[in-house]
């Protein structure tokens, strides 16, 4: 039985591995010098390599942030505490002032609050950038309701002036998704907000890609109402998903068969090399002769970029993020995913998640939602401010996302709002849990929970210094660090996109907040 991961290894690995063969293992049966390996004919399966992640830049000097209240999002709060970042990674977190290594920059954070860098699990920054324009709208490949082959990364404009503003709101990582016009909108990518000139350079190193899927009204409206095509109903929506995944299953089967045939053929080559005179292996004792194996290498199936994406979903290497509002539809999608043997990593928007929170908890599906954005369409009618808190109280992973280049600037307030709503309903929730809605939980949804999302030794040095408790409406990020590098220092420095070179960004440098007198 082929391991389910094998296909993805094949698809990713062949471009680099098809030219090399493992060195022959010496065996007792090898009595003569083996013949040199026969080169495999081109192409066995020619899959161009995707551009690799950008090399990691040199690490900034160590930085020790000390004196503030450290909210780790990992259960502990240290007041006062410290966070030490060395070589871009968190080297120490804990009580007290910490110890500054030689040459480290020491930042006095007394009276301030430290949290992990915030993560927005649902962003269209870069693909629907500001200022709004038709020329830069690159988030929905409208024309076909299933566009599994397109990548958000390829439509991303890194000069979006919303990006540095998000950083000023404490955001260090975002998932950039295609829009929701399509049933299957394409691949998402996860970016760190250290701004660079290309999406590739901003990729979160090692983060898996996601797949954007959409339920409900949007695909119906875009294709049915506006284009008089399929889908125009939720029936059509589900037909579309089933068709796409059925095709992907068959595609994957063809590749698995190819891989098996290739391996048989390689075995035969290997035997011929070891025993040039005997094309088939002789019987040893009462062991029957091995099958001879194919003479010619198998023909690889054609590469289909759409099916390939879904095949990787079936392998589990691409994570599914499903825009879906209604509880009945989420139930349906979970059933469908089971049928086709894939996992839904998270539902997005999910305003009715509270209605099926037990199932979400037991099946390990995260929920990205808003605090109080609701009612703008029928599938949003039953949205309640207690959605995320109810999901969290049931033991599922709740996430507060923005879906907006504006709201992303105060994700901390949105989490605070949801937390307050949950407490008013009588749920037992604390600041650590609500902080996880914008840090650790989205990190998990994006598959980067080992690398960021909490202030934990060994994780990336993604840290926000807030001028007051981050759940206050008056709180502003004073400093933001990504991989230990200071990327925002209120009143002093921030990243500036090319678009903004002549524009004011003094708003980022406003004085400290006044409060209720």
């Amino acid at each position: 039985m082929t391991h389910p991961r094998a296909l993805s290894l094949l698809l990713i690995g062949l471009a680099t591995s098809c030219a090399t063969q493992p060195p022959p293992k010496p065996t007792a049966a090898a009595t003569e010098t083996p013949a040199p390996p026969r080169p495999e004919p081109f192409p066995v399966a020619f899959v161009p390599a995707e551009p690799a992640d950008a090399p990691r830049p040199p690490a900034p000097a160590a930085v020790l942030l000390r004196g503030g209240t450290v909210m780790t999002a990992a259960g502990r709060t240290f007041a006062p505490g410290h966070v030490l970042v060395v070589d871009g990674s968190i080297a120490s977190v804990g009580e007290g002032p910490g110890v500054a290594p030689e040459g480290a920059r020491v930042v006095d954070a007394t009276g301030r609050f430290l949290t992990p860098g915030l993560i927005d699990s649902h962003s269209h920054m870069g693909v629907y950038p500001i200022p709004g324009s038709s020329g830069n709208s690159d988030g929905n490949e409208v024309g076909d309701p299933t566009t599994s082959g397109v990548w958000a990364e390829h439509g991303f404009w890194p000069q979006d002036p919303a990006l540095p503003r998000a950083v000023a709101g404490g955001i260090t990582t975002i998932q950039v998704l295609p829009g929701s016009a399509n049933l299957i909108g394409g691949r998402s990518f996860t970016a760190k907000l250290k701004l660079k000139g290309s999406a590739r350079e901003m990729r979160f190193p090692g983060a898996p890609q996601g797949l954007k899927m959409a339920c409900g009204e949007n695909p119906k409206r875009v294709y049915g109402e506006h284009r008089n095509g399929l889908p125009s109903t939720r029936m059509g929506n589900v037909f579309g998903y089933r068709k796409a995944f059925q095709d992907a299953l068959e595609y994957r089967r063809r590749w698995l068969k190819y891989e098996r045939d290739l391996s048989l053929w390689r075995d035969r080559l290997e035997r011929e090399r070891l025993h040039p005179t005997t094309p088939t292996a002789p019987a040893e004792g009462n062991k029957p002769a091995e099958p001879p194996g194919p003479l010619d290498p198998p023909d690889p199936p054609g590469r289909d970029l759409e099916h390939e994406t879904l095949a990787k979903v079936l392998d589990g290497t691409i994570l599914v993020h499903n825009h879906c509002y209604r509880a009945d539809e989420m139930n349906l999608m979970l059933d469908l995913a089971k049928q086709y043997h894939f996992k839904i990593r998270s539902f997005h928007h999910a305003l009715e998640a509270y209605k099926l929170r037990d199932r979400l908890a037991s099946e390990g599906v995260a929920v990205s939602t808003w605090a109080d954005w609701w009612g703008f369409k029928m599938e949003g009618l039953d949205g309640i401010p207690e959605n995320a808190p109810l999901v969290a109280a049931a033991g599922a992973r709740a996430i507060i996302h923005s879906d907006s280049g504006s709201e992303v600037r105060h994700l901390n307030q949105e989490a605070a709002k949801a937390l307050a709503a949950g407490k008013r309903l009588g749920l037992v929730l604390d600041d650590n849990e609500a902080l996880r809605w914008i840090t650790a939980n989205p990190a998990w949804a994006l598959g980067v929970e080992e690398k960021t999302g909490t202030l934990t030794v060994g994780k990336m040095g993604d840290v926000v210094v807030w001028d007051r408790h981050p759940f206050s409406v008056y709180a502003k990020a004073a400093q933001v660090y990504i991989d230990g590098e200071l990327v925002f220092d209120r009143g002093t420095a921030r990243q500036v996109t090319d678009f903004e070179v002549t524009l004011p960004h003094s708003g980022d440098t406003a004085p400290a907040a006044g409060v209720l007198p």
Binding site: I130, G375, K377, P385, S406, A475, E500, L503, G507, G514
Partner: protein, 419 residues
């Protein structure tokens, strides 16, 4: 609980009592005692009380005693403010934004000044109760449109069936950019041309009404009722609220207002801080949404987060808004909080969602502050009302304590119980 059992439990659950305000009966006197009272006019009183009799504020001060028979509300540790006024709202006009059958906020046509959005106002809209639950006691109903959208009304959010009957026409709404450009032939110059033509024809029509009725005039830019609806605008009596953001549009608007002697209000104002001196000199109010101060469009390239503070410092009458539907107006106090975070003094921010809109729209004799003789629209908050963690504990409109239930709350209770 199995899904089936859950479904049954939900079906069998007793129907909740209707969350609609009871028909008007005389309200008992109210006494909110010992609260921190923020008056809305830039002042506040600690440990103060407010007495409400016959729907009006009877007394405000420290050391008051509740009148006989009054319902006493303990305000200790809490903050009492005037009811908030949501400018730019479509509450009661839009139930579900994408369902056209539930949307009554606009009328087809480039310029429809006679359109009265209030005629489509539904006091039983689910959104009325939700906005009210966030401390919004009145809304400035704001129609959408292209060039001239129609008339705006101030309506109370009591949900009473007769509340629209008490609504007051307070403004005409229009725009200089955005959809106005498309409606006027695709350029800003076209917008100003069309506006001048309309204003001119309004004056012409008024002077030549009888000739018009005998069909002895040239064709006019608008039909009869639309022209008549503009009389108070050209007389400078009715505020003309204009959507405008770009600095050049704001300057064009001020020039038009000077030339035509209009009383204008700026709605949007992303770049208004660049025109702050001129706006202040003419006392032109600006309606601003603080959380949107980013370059969202080419009309807002110079937006900045501290815009509210800059306008206030310059002396511009500042009104804060949370925009219209989608989020509804539930985020109004959060908008105020964000303005404070970026430098606007706290009490100015409160004024900007209470007294300032009531003044700009000419209802400050009745609404907007906690003052003797004004209508008792009051909100008692669990803490600082701008903090998102605070909640409106008590909402009073016209001296009546409001039901805090809503469809959202009913759903939350239902599913908490079902868990």
């Amino acid at each position: 609980m199995t899904p089936l059992a859950l479904a049954l439990a939900l079906l069998l659950e007793a129907a909740p009592a209707a969350a609609v305000a009871a028909p008007s009966t005389p309200a008992p006197p109210l006494a909110i005692m010992g609260a921190r009272v923020e008056l809305g006019d830039g002042t506040g009183l600690a440990n103060a009380s407010v007495i409400v009799v016959d729907g009006k504020i009877a007394e405000v001060g420290v050391g008051l005693s509740p009148p006989r028979g009054a319902q006493v509300i303990d305000g200790r540790g809490k903050v009492l403010t005037p009811g908030l006024i949501a400018t730019g709202s479509q509450v009661g006009l839009v139930e579900v934004g994408l369902e056209r059958g539930t949307v009554d906020a606009s009328l087809e046509g480039a310029a429809v000044p006679a359109f009265r959005a209030i005629d489509g106002f539904n006091p039983r809209s689910w959104r009325v109760a939700i906005d009210r639950g966030q401390g919004v006691t009145s809304s400035v109903l704001t129609p959408w449109g292209a060039l001239i959208h129609g008339q705006g009304f101030v309506v109370e959010l009591s949900g009473e069936p007769d509340s629209p009957a008490h609504a007051k026409r307070v403004a005409m709404f229009g725009a200089l950019a955005g959809g106005a450009r498309d409606a006027a032939g695709g350029s800003r110059g076209g917008v100003l041309l069309r506006l001048r033509e309309i204003l001119d024809d309004v004056r012409f029509y008024r002077a030549n009404k009888s000739a018009y009725d005998r069909a002895q005039t040239r064709p006019l830019a608008l039909s009869r009722l639309h022209l008549e609806a503009m009389f108070d605008v050209v007389d400078g009596k009715l505020p003309f609220v204009i959507d405008a953001n770009r600095e050049s549009d704001l300057r064009a608007l001020l020039a038009l207002a000077d030339e035509q002697r209009l009383r204008v209000v700026v709605n949007g104002g992303a770049e208004a801080w660049l025109v702050a001196k001129e706006l202040a000199a003419r006392k032109v109010p600006v309606i601003l949404q603080p959380t949107t101060m980013e370059p969202w469009g080419f009309d807002a390239l110079h937006a900045r987060d501290d815009a509210a503070a800059l306008l206030d410092e310059a002396g511009v009458p500042l009104i804060l808004s949370s925009g219209g539907t989608d989020n509804g107006t539930t985020r109004l106090r959060q908008e105020a909080g964000v303005a404070v975070a970026y430098g606007l003094p706290w009490r100015k921010a409160l004024t900007a969602i209470t007294l300032a809109p009531s003044r700009a729209f000419g209802v400050d004799g009745e609404l907007g502050t906690i003052a003797k003789g004004k209508r008792a629209d009051l909100v008692l908050w669990s803490g600082d009302p701008f903090e998102v963690s605070s909640a409106a504990d008590v909402v009073i409109i016209g001296g009546r304590r409001q039901d805090m239930g809503s469809r959202q709350r009913a759903l939350a209770e239902r599913y908490r119980a079902a868990h």
